[in-house]
């Protein structure tokens, strides 16, 4: 694990239009290989924090740095999104292609891989998570657990340096939850996991933080 910050949010202030400030002077840093869980009450801004980090929301003040450089241009944002993977809470919003293989190959194609290379990489990723048999299956025929695993595969196929996961166990049964825990435990890459499931965070992350009064605060596992 390297100590160099991969992604950092410095002195961030943010509030949705017409609402009070959600974050006021928030600082958050993710170093390479770091595995952090965020456990906080509803409405505290867990998902918003991830959206700010990935440039889906724009902070009123403060800076987002990726590998030490500010994310202030379309090019920098594209580079960030091709290097850090974000798994959304709702898999139906993450998976938009017609088949599993097409969806997993979408990211690699955007990275500039040739169609055949992208297909190979997608198949390889699906095999690595034990989902190769579903490659040609239409997305709408997958179960909730399968959709979540495929969502993670779509991001893993881009070979990211870190993963941001938003409530990965929502709507999942025990079996699917167990599969995701095993998958995350087998992966060595850095991650930020936002979840209400404290036991899940205990098994998949090393450190835990919370959001209190618009700022990051330590929290025990």
């Amino acid at each position: 694990m390297s100590d160099s910050p991969l992604l950092s949010l410095n002195n961030i202030s943010f509030g949705y239009t017409g609402s009070p400030l959600l974050f006021d002077g928030l600082d958050f840093t993710l170093t390479e290989g770091e595995q952090t869980g965020i456990h906080a009450p509803n409405g505290s801004g867990k998902t918003t924090l991830l959206r700010l980090a990935m440039g889906l929301e724009k902070a009123q003040s403060g800076t987002v740095l990726f590998q030490g450089s500010p994310v202030d241009s379309a090019q920098a944002l594209h580079h960030l999104r091709c290097t850090v993977g974000f798994v959304l809470q709702n898999s139906d919003e993450q998976l938009f292609s017609s088949t599993v293989l097409e969806d997993v190959a979408f990211g690699p194609l955007n990275l500039g891989l040739k169609p055949q290379e992208a297909r190979d990489r997608a198949l390889e990723t699906l095999e690595s998570i034990g989902m190769a048999a579903l490659a040609e299956r239409p997305i709408h025929q997958l179960s909730g657990g399968e959709k979540k695993l495929v969502s993670i595969a779509t991001v893993l196929s881009m070979r990211p340096k870190a993963l941001l996961l938003d409530e990965p166990t929502t709507f999942l049964d025990e079996k699917s939850r167990g599969r995701i825990i095993r998958l995350l435990q087998e992966m060595g890459i850095g991650r930020v996991i936002v979840s209400h499931d404290r036991d899940f965070l205990r098994q998949t992350t090393v450190s835990l933080v919370t959001i209190k009064d618009g700022r990051i605060a330590p929290c025990s596992l």
């Binding site: 139906d92 097409e102 955007n110 992208a118 709408h140 779509t154």
Partner: protein
């Protein structure tokens, strides 16, 4: 060409023939040549269609639209009257026009259903893109296929939620208002979802260009198939021109 052979044919060739047939058949003026077109389409379907029952079912459904033409055109088109019922006149010109539309419409449908019914949507999208159709339209087609199920699911959830609170469809203002609200909510949810999907695409490096992983390869037999079909279509057009000119 059997149904198995059809599966092995390059989807671009199938779409080219289907599009060409639709264009040529719709241009026909003569009833005799249109009838010949329908006969040829039926023979083609007989040889190639894998499932006749499903083909006829689809054809029957599509003919419901043709029924509207029969219910309006002959009764409203001015011309030589062949039947008069009270104030309503049934004209010969209207009858011929309705017959022409029916023949051409069924011929086009038969060709389209035979050639494309068993084609996967992804295959179709890929073939359309390779045929240089606008990329945005192709992806609109693919996205519609992907999300129509999700929207249908959301609609079902709303229906269940309403039913759980005792809602029953009736001919009443309350029913219309509830259905309106549910439809509105489905549209709003769809719009919100489309924004989120766009974000999900951005998050995976989407920068405006679409790519497909399927690679298509045209073989000699595909070229022969397209050429033969276009030759038959050209013959039909020439025959139509000849019959129309002689008639004039």
């Amino acid at each position: 060409m059997s149904s198995t052979a059809m599966h092995q044919t390059d989807p671009r060739a199938l779409l080219l023939v289907a599009g060409g047939a639709a264009f040529c058949l719709s241009c026909l003026q003569s009833l005799v040549v249109s009838g010949t077109g329908l006969a040829l389409a039926a023979i083609f379907a007989c040889v190639c269609a894998p499932d006749w029952r499903s083909l006829l079912k689809r054809l029957l459904l599509a003919n419901l639209f043709v029924l509207f033409i029969w219910l309006t055109v002959p009764w409203t088109m001015p011309g030589t009257d062949i039947l008069i019922i009270g104030p309503v006149h049934f004209s010969r010109e209207g009858l011929l026009l309705a017959m022409g539309v029916t023949l051409k419409c069924n011929a086009i449908l038969l060709i389209f259903l035979t050639l494309t019914a068993d084609m996967g949507l992804l295959q179709m999208g890929c073939a359309l893109q390779k045929l240089h159709m606008p990329v945005k339209l192709v992806f609109l087609l693919l996205f519609t296929y992907r999300y129509i199920h999700v929207i249908a699911e959301e609609w079902k959830k709303l229906q269940t939620a309403a039913a759980l609170r005792g809602f029953m469809m009736q001919t009443s203002f309350h029913t219309y208002k509830t259905i309106g609200n549910m439809l509105g909510l489905t549209v709003i949810n769809s719009i919100t979802r489309s924004h989120r999907i766009y974000e999900a695409m951005l998050l995976r490096g989407f920068s405006g260009d679409f790519y497909l992983t399927t690679e298509l390869k045209a073989r000699r037999r595909d070229i022969i198939f397209v050429s033969s079909c276009f030759f038959v279509l050209a013959c039909l057009l020439c025959a139509d021109l000849y019959v129309t000119c002689c008639h004039v």
